[in-house]
Amino acid sequence: MDNNKLLQGNQACAMGAIKAGVKFCAGYPITPSSEIMEILAEELPKVEGKFIQMEDEIASVGAIIGASVMGVKSLTPTSGPGFDLKQENIAFAAMAEIPVVIVDVQRSGPSTGGATICAQGDLMQAKYGRSGDCPIIALYPNSVKEIYKTTIRAFNLAEKYMTPVILLLDETIGHMRENINVDDYQDMEIINRNFPEESATDYLPYRPDESGVVRLVPFGNDKGYRYVISGMHHTENGMPSIAKNSIQNSIERINGKIDKNKEEIWEWEEIDTEDAETLVIACGCVSRSAVEAVKVARSKGYKAGLFRPITIWPFLDEPLKEALKNIKTVIVPEMNQGQLVHKINELINKDVKVVQLNIFDGSLIMPEQIIEVIEEACHK
């Protein structure tokens, strides 16, 4: 059977989640993400999963964390204002080390902004939207195919590192239809969280393994593992503690496990970077225009290349530094007032010129606009 289909990005996200083994989704209606939960409301009962439309976004993320505590892979989709509301409970998941996936189909903000207007305003919020030193993994696919496999990867990373993972989508990609054959991803590895080897009597839920990851036994198990999960600083047995070393240990561990394993979390794409002197750095829908722009620039004789982060957080410091080695000019097109560019500026030495292209009026950044900036930058 030919499984070649024309799928919408949001649809691919829902299908990828099912493939990853998601069995629970809680959501609250918000454009432009609603299709994800509408599809899961239809599909989950067919795989003995459940969907519930909660009373608000706070409750939705709360409910998926509750389900994940019971060992069930869970997801909540949202957009801008809803993403704001979810932050506190995302921090809870990070602190208590509960794997969940939060999909943010970005729209133009702040506040209500424009519900169907494409924008890339949540990059920094994904990382810094919560109080405290809160760790996060955020992934940013740029096509329908990539949404499908990155959704699976989001669950894999969540389960492997016992942490919330944010999937950032652009409105345009979420609502765009592209060809995909899901059979191509049949053999993708599906990772499920590890369970402890020790018996219930020796078990310390928050004692990490060698890789710094904890192994939480789902509540409701019949093997006598009983413990406390809490958003407070806690000791290895899970009990709240504000002793200096508990605080230090918990902050270091939840951040350290991401940092220690960042090479495995990192994913990016490079095009024509080997001999490039001008590097375009772009993600999401903008990177699609950038691919075209680099191609055209090359045909015109400019030594242009593209660096496209797929993992946004933890940030791709080393790979980007490597790609920047012989670069004279960096061009950062973004559909915001300049967010990604802050991280790039941190990594760049003074001799490299950074040119921003920020369009945030809802119109997409076109290849010609990027080409123009490349040409201008190279002639100066």
Partner: protein, 277 residues
Amino acid sequence: MSIRDYVKEDVFPLFTCPGCTHGTVINTFLRAADELKLDRDKTVIVCAIGCAGRTPTYLDFNVLRVTHGRALAFATGVKLARPDVKVIVFMGDGDALAIGGNHFIHAARRNIGITAVVLRNEIYGMTGGQYAPTTPVGAKATTAPYGMIEPSFDTCKLAASAGATYVARGDIFNLNNLYNVMKSALQHKGFALVEALTSCPIQFGRRNKVSDPAKMVQRIKNMVVTKAVAEKLSTEEQAEKFIIGEFVNTREIELTERYAKLLDINKKENEVVITMS
């Protein structure tokens, strides 16, 4: 078993202030749990922030202690993920009725199988005595230095009108009633709400000239009447009192039962194939 077998003795004493009767509700809950032979491995307690939220972490159960006001939202996910597990939620009055008010009415509306216990001590204790949506008119709080001017919630009427299928009130003086309604709530299939009137001698009492713990218990005793006594009172007299006992006890189809039916229908009607439309 003794109720001490249900607590983490190594972390006792309870963190609560001397004479805080949240512990009395926990004491009563444990007696009911022991009587019902509650299987701890098949029970999840969800609680959140504040004095009422912290108390259950001292129990030897699976305890999920979440963000302020959100215990019922998390508990909804817990119950839907594992309908076979008993889910018990302990909340303070601020937790359940102020920051968590929305989750409270929706959990009741859904009739999801959760036993919710609201500990009504009429004040925000842990944060230092600010007024709650349950602080009586005229009572003083750090944020009501001239006395409370807002009316209070009637938790039981709120739960009943939102659709809870078990609603009862108890208090820390009339322990037989509290024990009985706690037991019934734990056995109920559907959303069960028990409001327990408790006393906070430090943050509420000290500011309102009843700092003696025993006198605070006496104050609760004077605040409550049984349903039988209430019937003989005028409407005005009733309004002054908290009626204790059972208000609602009906059997309606519970949310996870509805879901099980839906999954059954789906199993019959659909092959387990993901449609690709």
